[in-house]
């Protein structure tokens, strides 16, 4: 008797303990549900944008290039404007001959929202002749929304675009409810009926799983994907708790934003907002019945029913969703029939994962890390407006890929093939317009443009000649320099005897010729005479921050720099001695568009203008008559490109750095493992540069002549004055530094001719002054 009592008592205690335990556990779960669901905000990636295209009359842009950019942005080419509601939202263009009507979409720029608007462009050859509205009134300036070029993503590279329930079309919600959870609006978080049905129908083709929408959300939100009874129970309790605390709408909205709907390479597509953009290139509110049904179809398995890879399977599942929706009377017969007849309608545009331009993105990310926490970058939904010019980027990628493939074929050196890197900047502002980190521009890994430090060879020579030209009393463009055999002795190091590329020595040559033909002996001698430290000091002033060790061999480019550092150095040359730090970011705003930071244009005059002018003129000589003459095959001589080739020992590295009126480019080609590439700067890097620039139709380089520069006609033989000498050249000099003597070939009247010329020049500038006032 007392035994039974004892057992009963024990059972009672056990029951009580269990009850208390279950109660405590429930309380704990309740606490979790409330704090985590309440506190939970979706982590939103920082969104990165290219530069916006600014349309205005006079813009140098060809019509097909604008069409390309609009297509990239997902604008639709219409035959004629048709649907007035869609028309008002923008996102379309109509071409008729040389005229383009564009419906620009609304966009939140860093300095405020710009509403959707329609503009009309009349093209005139390679530029915009007129910009008006549709009534023909002049429009001064119209910004096209910038191209999204990637993001900095939360853990798991989850990407999403948040939407409000009110923005989601009712037919999408109905299809979801019909397919995933028919009793959603009436149940308490779980459905015994569907659980029982799920248990009974294992293996059958019925489509309902046992989980309600609430349970699915709990599973994704709070729990790990293991499948145990305990976890199932926890899920159930939490679902009920969620329903107690929150309304049906709130839970549904969260679900619609949370749900995983696809994979774009390394980027996970979450939520119906992003899925609408990713699959159909449109905002969620514009989804049709058929499109909505496809998204609902994907809930069950985005990989299995991937409409890009398994179109037939996806179509079958979509139609099943439509049928279930129809069975719930959530579709009319007409809607159902039309939707069933529609094709999948997914956009052809391939996804690019986290970014189509990983090299540029990694640079942006690095610059952002200076000013922002990594966690904020990955969760706060910051908007980052960059300097990337998609057209320059495309031209750079195509040029590099094409040429490297061709070199590989010619060389047959086997795998791994040649590599390369490109940096393109705006020479005046230092904005980085394009960055290619390797031959596969989509590869997110080693970023050679930024991280590969390679010997620069002759690219350093301009610093030697610049050092000389800052002393006009002793050096001008025609000062003879000695390209005879040269030996540099220093204690503790083997003798240094630089050879020339053609294995010859050229004796006394004018300074500009030594640079044009990149003579090593002349440069080494001149550089050591001027002082290695002085030359390297000027390299630093040109913008190279890396510590360079003062070995004489540095003069001929034994120093290792990245293409980006070389671009910085040449930017200072291209802008007449005004150094601007290279920048990839213009502005950063919060998710709502509140400006956080602007990276302003900054300049610093690092050198006086006169020597920089002479150097730039000498670098034009490199292209006109020196090692870069090959550019003639790519660009007309009027462009007046200034540039320099670079080739290192055994031709391991091939470089070309040069600039036009509106772009500066640096190209490096070589092997990652430092094999001898047997390709020089002029045979390997120059053609890449030439292809790229030719595709971009660059502006001619018109150097801004400083006041204290005069031009004098020089006899190329003697280096003395002589207008009438054969092949006489008009060369710039700092005032008073030009040779005084007349060349032997000069005719007696030369002096008089010069004087007339000078008087006319003076009068001309005086006239100009007069009229400019």
């Amino acid at each position: 008797m007392w035994q039974r009592k004892k057992i009963l008592r024990a059972a009672g205690i056990t029951f009580l303990v269990l009850l208390v335990g279950a109660g405590a556990f429930t309380l704990y779960l309740d606490h979790r549900v409330r704090t985590e669901f309440e506190g939970r905000r979706f982590a939103l990636p920082a969104r990165i944008y290219a530069r916006p295209l600014e349309l205005h009359a006079g813009l140098r842009l060809a019509l097909p290039d604008l069409e390309d950019e609009l297509r990239e942005l997902g604008y639709k080419a219409l035959i004629e404007k048709a649907d007035p509601t869609r028309e008002a939202e923008g996102g379309w263009y109509v071409r008729s001959g040389e005229r383009l009507d564009v419906g620009l979409r609304a966009f939140m720029f860093w300095d405020g929202a710009q509403p959707a608007r329609q503009v009309r462009l009349a093209f005139d050859g390679g530029s915009v002749g007129a910009l008006t509205d549709t009534e023909g009134r002049e429009v001064a300036l119209a910004r096209v929304e910038p191209l999204p070029i990637g993001g900095i993503y939360p853990a798991g590279n989850e990407d999403r675009v948040l939407v409000r329930l009110a923005e989601v079309p009712p037919h999408l919600v109905k299809a979801l409810i019909a397919t995933e959870d028919r009793t959603y609006f009436t149940h308490a978080g779980f459905s015994l009926r569907s659980m029982a049905r799920a248990a009974l129908s294992v293996g059958s083709s019925r489509m309902q799983g046992g989980s309600t929408i609430t349970q699915q959300l709990v599973k994704n939100f709070f729990l790990t994907p293991e499948r145990t009874l305990r976890r199932k129970l926890t899920e159930l309790v939490m679902a009920v708790l969620l329903e107690i605390h929150y309304g049906k709408e709130e839970i549904l909205e969260t679900y619609l934003n949370e749900i995983y709907l696809g994979q774009d390479r390394d980027r996970a597509i979450h939520g119906v907002g992003l899925a609408a953009q990713y699959y159909f290139g449109k905002e969620v509110q514009h989804l049709t019945v058929a499109e909505s049904a496809l998204l609902v179809a994907l809930v069950k398995g985005p990989a299995v029913y991937d409409p890009h890879r398994h179109a037939a399977r996806a179509l079958e599942r979509r139609n099943l969703v439509l049928r279930e929706t129809r069975e719930q009377n959530a579709l009319t017969m007409e809607e159902y029939a039309a939707a069933r007849a529609a094709d999948l309608g997914v956009s052809r545009k391939p996804g690019f994962g986290t970014s189509p331009y990983p090299a540029f993105l990694s640079l942006v990310h690095r610059q952002l890390r200076h000013d922002y926490d990594e966690a904020d970058l990955r969760s706060e939904g910051l908007r980052v407006f960059t300097t990337l010019d998609p057209r320059a980027q495309g031209a750079a990628e195509r040029a590099l890929t094409k040429r490297l493939a061709q070199f590989d074929k010619d060389k047959r050196f086997g795998a791994p093939g040649l590599e390369g890197a490109i940096v393109v900047t705006d020479p005046q502002s230092g904005e980085i317009q394009a960055l290619v980190g390797g031959r596969d521009p989509r590869y997110r890994g080693y970023n050679r443009a930024v991280d590969a430090a390679r010997p620069v060879g002759s690219l350093l020579k301009p610093a030697i000649y610049l050092t000389a030209l800052t002393d006009p009393a002793h050096y001008t463009l025609v000062t003879p320099v000695d390209d005879g055999p040269f030996v540099w002795k220093s204690r503790g190091a083997p003798d240094w005897e630089p050879e020339n590329y053609d294995k010859k020595f050229h004796g006394m040559v004018p300074l500009r010729t030594a640079l044009a033909h990149s003579y090593n002996a002349a440069a080494a001698r001149l550089g050591t005479e001027l002082g290695v430290e002085r030359v390297l000091g000027n390299v630093k002033k040109l913008g190279v921050e890396r510590e360079l060790r003062p070995f004489a061999s540095a003069l001929l480019g034994a120093v290792e720099l990245s293409p980006l550092e070389v671009a910085q150095m040449y930017q200072t040359i291209a802008s007449g001695g005004f150094r601007s730090p290279l920048r990839a970011i213009r502005e950063v705003t919060t998710q709502e568009g509140k400006p956080l930071q602007r990276y302003a244009l900054a300049v610093e005059q690092a050198f006086p203008q006169e020597p920089m002018y002479l150097l730039a003129a000498a670098l034009q000589g490199v292209v006109r008559e020196g090692t870069a003459q090959g550019l003639k095959a790519f660009l007309p001589p009027e462009i007046g490109v200034a540039g320099k080739t670079g080739t290192t020992d055994e031709q391991r590295d091939a470089w070309f750095a040069g600039f036009t009126g509106d772009r500066l480019g640096v190209v490096w080609v070589g092997y990652d493992d430092n094999r001898a590439a047997r390709l020089s700067g002029s045979t390997a890097a120059l053609p890449v540069w030439g292809d790229m620039m030719a595709a971009l139709a660059p502006e001619p380089l018109a150097l801004e002549k400083p006041e204290r520069i005069e031009t004098v006609w020089i006899d190329p033989q003697s280096g003395l004055r002589g207008v009438s000498c054969p092949g006489a050249l008009e060369l710039p000099f700092v005032q008073g530094s030009a040779p005084r003597d007349m060349a032997p070939c000069a005719s007696p009247v030369d002096g008089a001719v010069e004087a007339v010329g000078q008087t006319i020049e003076k009068a001309k500038s005086w006239f100009e002054r007069l009229f400019k006032r």
Binding site: L59, A602, E604, T759, R769
Partner: protein, 148 residues
């Protein structure tokens, strides 16, 4: 040759354009009011207008941004660089203000009025940094150009 030059001088003097009809020529005021950016381009003109308005309203960051937008369209327009120098001066970014004015000078060619104004801006930035000698020299450069 001198004769030729003199002839040109006379010709130029004849060609001196538009003295206002009737009434005396306006006296040359000092200091000159800041010149409005002269440009053919309506986009640049529009951006400068809004930069002016923003600067007047104390929205200097936005003003600078508009000028930078204009500079992307006309990177060699010395008036835009000068405008940026002026905004930087207002922002008390003296080093940048000086460099912007120097950049403007590098594109100014023979526009002495513009160059004189740049030297005056440079003088102000130097004064603000306590470089009295530098400021004096800059003012002298401005004077020399004004009297040209």
């Amino acid at each position: 040759m001198r004769f030729f030059a003199a002839l040109l001088l006379v010709l130029a003097a004849c060609a001196t354009p538009e003295a206002p009809p009737g009434g005396p020529a306006p006296p040359t005021a000092e200091p000159a009011p800041p010149p409005v950016a002269r440009t053919e381009n309506v986009a640049v003109a529009g951006l400068m207008e809004s930069a002016r308005a923003d600067a007047a309203a104390g929205k200097l960051t936005t003003a600078a941004a508009s000028i930078e937008r204009a500079l992307r369209i006309e990177p060699r327009n010395p008036r835009l660089w000068q405008e940026l120098a002026r905004v930087r001066l207002q922002q008390e970014q003296f080093v940048q203000a000086e460099n912007m004015a120097r950049r403007s000078n590098s594109f100014a060619g023979s526009d002495n009025t513009l160059r004189a104004e740049n030297w005056r801006l440079i003088a102000q930035t130097l004064e603000a940094r306590g470089d009295a000698d530098g400021a004096r020299a800059a003012r002298e450069s401005a004077e020399k150009l004004s009297s040209h």
